[in-house]
C-alpha cells in the first residue's frame, strides 16, 4: 500500500497546505488548558488525519484517536476518552486527542455526541483535534463556537501530479506523463485516491496513458456537491435517486442544496419555475412522507434538466444559502431574539408569533428602540 508506505512522518512531508500548517502550528503552540479545539475540515483524502499524525509524531506526543467506526453516543465518548482528557498524565509525555470524522456522528445512534464533545473540549488537559468533511451543517453549529477552524482545501492537480511523480520514481514505476496527469485529474484533489490508483495500475509494468481508462470512478459519497451535480444532470429519476442515496447528506439537507443552487444551474425562466415548483410540491410531503418528497423533488428536476439550456461552464455549487443565512440571521438578531424569547411566555405565544405579531407594534408604542 503506497498510502501507508508514504504516509508523512513529519509535518514537512505534507503535500501542500502551507497556510493550514502554519495556522495549526500556531494553534498548538499557544494552546493552554481550557483553550479551543481545532476543527480541521476539507474534502476527503487531502491529508487531514495524516497531518495530525505527523504533528503528533514530530512532537513526540501520544495520539489518541476515535473515528466514525467506533461508537460515539454521549455515554460512549465520555467512557472512552472522557476520563483520559481530564487527567494530566504522570509522565511528561504530551497527548493529542483526535476525534476523526466528527461530521459522521449519527443523529440517532450517536445522540448527544456533539454536546459531549463540547464538554470534553472545556475540561480537556490536552489539545483536541476534530476533523470533518463538511463543517457547515447545523449539526456541528454548537461545536464551531469552541473550535478554531482551519480549512484544508482540495489539492491542486499539479501538486498531486508532482507527488505521484516523486513516488513513482522512488518505486521505480514506469509511467507515461499523460497517465500521471490523468490519475491526478481523476483524483480530484484526493491524494489518497491518487496513490491508490497509482498502486493499482502499477503491478510491475509500465503504465500507459490508455490504462487510466480502467480506473473506476469513485462514488464520492461524502460530497454533497458531487451528488448535487449528478442530480442536476441525471437523465432519469433512478439515476438521480441513486445519487441522493449515495450522498452523505439526507434528503432534507439535499433539498436545501438544490434550493440554494438551482439558480446557478438553470437559466431559462421556464426551467427555474419548474424546479421551484418541484421543490414547493416536495415541501408539502416533507414531514409526512419522505419517499414521496424525494420522488416529487427529483422528477421535477429531471424534467427541467432535460430541457435546460446548458451553461457553458459547470457552476461551483455552494453550501445551502438558506442554512447559512438562518445561522447568520440568528446571529445578527440575537439581542432581539433574546428579548423575544423572554417575551414569548409572558405573551403566551411562540417566539415566532411574538416577532411577527407584537414586535412591529412594540417598536411603535414602546417608543424606545427595541
Amino acid at each position: 500500500m503506497l498510502v501507508e508506505k508514504y504516509k508523512p512522518k513529519r509535518v514537512g512531508d505534507i503535500v501542500g497546505h502551507r497556510e493550514a500548517v502554519v495556522k495549526i502550528s500556531k494553534w498548538l503552540g499557544s494552546w493552554r488548558r481550557g483553550g479551543k479545539a481545532l476543527l480541521l475540515h476539507g474534502p476527503t483524502g487531502v491529508g487531514k488525519t495524516a497531518l495530525v499524525h505527523a504533528l503528533a509524531a514530530q512532537r513526540g506526543d501520544d495520539l489518541i484517536e476515535m473515528n466514525a467506526s467506533d461508537y460515539r453516543s454521549a455515554k460512549q465518548i465520555a467512557e472512552n476518552i472522557g476520563r483520559s482528557v481530564a487527567q494530566q498524565s504522570l509522565m511528561k509525555r504530551g497527548k493529542i486527542f483526535l476525534i476523526d470524522e466528527i461530521d459522521g456522528l449519527s443523529g440517532n445512534s450517536d445522540r448527544g455526541g456533539v454536546a459531549e464533545v463540547i464538554k470534553l473540549i472545556a475540561k480537556s488537559a490536552y489539545p483536541i483535534v476534530l476533523t470533518a468533511n463538511e463543517p457547515h451543517g447545523p449539526k456541528l453549529r454548537p461545536l464551531r463556537k469552541c473550535c478554531v477552524s482551519v480549512e484544508m482545501k482540495r489539492l491542486p492537480d499539479a501538486d498531486v501530479e508532482r507527488h505521484l511523480a516523486k513516488i513513482a520514481a522512488k518505486e521505480k514505476i514506469q509511467i507515461e506523463p499523460a497517465a500521471l496527469r490523468d490519475i491526478a485529474r481523476i483524483s480530484n484533489g484526493d491524494l489518497r485516491a491518487a496513490l491508490n490508483d497509482l498502486g493499482s495500475l502499477a503491478c510491475g509494468r509500465k503504465i500507459r496513458a490508455e490504462d487510466t481508462a480502467d480506473l473506476g470512478l469513485r462514488e464520492r459519497s461524502s460530497d454533497a456537491r458531487a451528488a448535487l451535480e449528478k442530480i442536476f444532470t441525471a437523465s432519469s429519476i433512478e439515476e438521480a435517486r441513486a445519487a441522493l442515496e449515495n450522498a452523505d447528506v439526507d434528503a432534507d439537507e439535499m433539498f436545501w442544496w438544490i434550493e440554494g443552487n438551482a439558480l446557478a444551474e438553470f437559466a431559462g425562466h421556464g426551467d427555474v419555475a419548474a424546479v421551484f415548483e418541484a421543490l414547493s410540491a416536495a415541501d408539502m410531503f416533507r414531514r409526512r412522507n419522505e419517499s414521496c418528497m424525494v420522488d416529487v423533488m427529483l422528477s421535477g428536476i429531471v424534467a427541467a434538466a432535460r430541457s435546460k439550456r446548458k451553461r457553458p461552464v459547470r457552476p461551483g455549487y455552494s453550501y445551502p444559502q438558506h442554512i447559512a443565512m438562518l445561522a447568520m440571521a440568528r446571529f445578527a438578531r440575537r439581542d432581539e431574539e433574546e428579548m423575544l424569547e423572554q417575551l414569548s411566555p409572558q405573551l403566551h405565544c411562540s417566539v415566532e408569533k411574538a416577532r411577527t405579531e407584537f414586535l412591529p407594534y412594540l417598536r411603535i408604542f414602546n417608543r424606545r428602540p427595541v
Partner: protein
C-alpha cells in the same frame, strides 16, 4: 428591556394591552359561545377531557385554555398547569422530557389531574405527535391536555380521536367592537366611530391586532382618528413586498428572491405576513385584468400550501417563479 419590566408586572399594570385585556375568566371571553358553554359545564363538573382547540389567530383559543386553568385551580394554577409552545420546542424531545415528566407526576390539588396546554400544536413534528399520543393515553388519569392549533388537519388523527374538538370561529365586527370598547373605556381613550371601524378593518377579526393597533395609535396621540390608525398600521407593515413583486414581474427572479429571503430571514417576517401584503398589492400591479386574475389565483394557491404547513421560503419562492413567468420578454 423596558418592555420586559412592564410585562412582568403581572396583574397590576401590564404594559402590553393584548395581555392586559386578555379575558381572565371563561365568562369574560368574547363570543365563542358554542365552545365556552360546553367547556363551562366540564369545568363545573371539575372533569375536563383532552381537548383540541382549532381556529384562526386572535379569537380566544389560548385565552380559553388559560381561563380553564384559572377556573379549575385558582391560586394553585402555577404548579398545576404546564404551558408549552410547540413552535418554540417542536421536536420529539420536548414531548419525551418536559411533557412526559410533568404528565406523570400526580397533583396534590383537589382536582386530581394536572393540565398541559400545548399551544401552536400544529408545529409539532410528526414524531413528536406520535410520541404524544401514547403519553396522552398512559397518563390520562393524572393529566389532561389542551392542544391548540390553527389547522386541525395538521394534528395526526390518533390525537384528534383522543380529544374533544372545539372549533373557534372567526370574530365578527360586533365582537371586535365589544373588545375595543372595553379597552377604550379602561384606558379612557377618545376615538370616533371611523377610527374604530379602521382598527376593526385592519385587525381582520384578530383581537390581538385590535389591541396592538389601538395601543400603537394611543401612544402617538390621545385622540385617535381614522388617519392616525392607517398611518400606524402602515408603519407596522412590510414595505419591501411591493418591490419584490415588481422585480418578479420584470423577470428578475434572482433579485426578487433576494428581497424575499431578506424579509423572511433577516427581518423575521412570516410567510403569512408577506402573502397577505401581496394580496393587497395585487390591486396596484400594472397588468391587464386577465393577468391580474391569474395572479390572484396563483397567490391563493401558494397561500393554501403555506396554510397546509408548507415552508414559507420555499412556497413563496415558487410563487415568485410563477409570477416571473408573466414577465414580458
Amino acid at each position: 428591556m423596558l418592555i420586559m419590566a412592564a410585562v412582568q408586572a403581572e396583574g397590576s399594570d401590564i404594559a402590553v394591552w393584548a395581555e392586559k385585556y386578555r379575558p381572565r375568566t371563561l365568562g369574560d371571553v368574547i363570543n365563542q359561545r358554542h365552545a365556552v358553554e360546553r367547556i363551562r359545564a366540564f369545568v363545573a363538573a371539575k372533569n375536563v377531557p383532552h381537548m383540541l382547540f382549532a381556529g384562526p389567530a386572535g379569537v380566544g383559543k389560548t385565552t380559553v385554555a388559560l381561563a380553564i386553568g384559572r377556573d379549575l385551580y385558582g391560586k394553585d394554577m402555577h404548579g398545576n398547569v404546564l404551558e408549552l409552545n410547540a413552535s418554540n420546542e417542536r421536536g420529539i424531545d420536548v414531548v419525551r422530557n418536559k411533557v412526559k415528566d410533568f404528565a406523570r407526576t400526580r397533583t396534590v390539588s383537589g382536582i386530581g389531574y394536572r393540565l398541559i396546554i400545548l399551544d401552536e400544536a400544529d408545529a409539532l413534528t410528526g414524531d413528536a405527535q406520535q410520541a404524544l399520543r401514547r403519553t396522552m393515553e398512559t397518563y390520562a388519569a393524572v393529566s389532561r391536555f389542551i392542544l391548540i392549533c390553527n389547522w386541525s388537519s395538521k394534528i395526526i388523527e390518533p390525537i384528534q380521536s383522543r380529544c374533544s374538538v372545539f372549533r373557534f370561529r372567526a370574530l365578527g365586527r360586533d365582537d371586535q367592537l365589544k373588545f375595543l370598547e372595553r379597552i377604550e373605556k379602561a384606558e379612557r381613550l377618545s376615538m370616533d366611530a371611523a377610527a374604530k371601524d379602521a382598527i376593526i378593518h385592519l385587525a381582520g377579526g384578530d383581537l390581538r391586532k385590535v389591541a396592538n393597533i389601538a395601543q400603537s395609535a394611543a401612544s402617538a396621540k390621545r385622540k385617535i382618528t381614522e388617519d392616525l390608525v392607517y398611518d400606524i398600521a402602515s408603519r407596522a407593515k412590510p414595505v419591501d413586498v411591493k418591490v419584490m413583486m415588481e422585480l418578479a414581474l420584470a423577470g428578475n427572479f434572482a433579485a426578487s428572491r433576494k428581497k424575499l429571503q431578506d424579509m423572511l430571514l433577516m427581518q423575521g417576517l412570516s410567510g403569512e405576513d408577506v402573502i397577505r401584503e401581496m394580496h393587497r398589492q395585487l390591486d396596484e400591479v400594472k397588468a391587464d385584468e386577465r393577468t391580474k386574475a391569474e395572479l390572484v389565483s396563483k397567490v391563493g394557491e401558494y397561500e393554501y400550501r403555506i396554510s397546509q404547513g408548507g415552508n414559507d421560503l420555499v412556497q413563496l419562492e415558487a410563487l415568485l417563479a410563477q409570477i416571473m413567468l408573466f414577465a414580458k420578454h
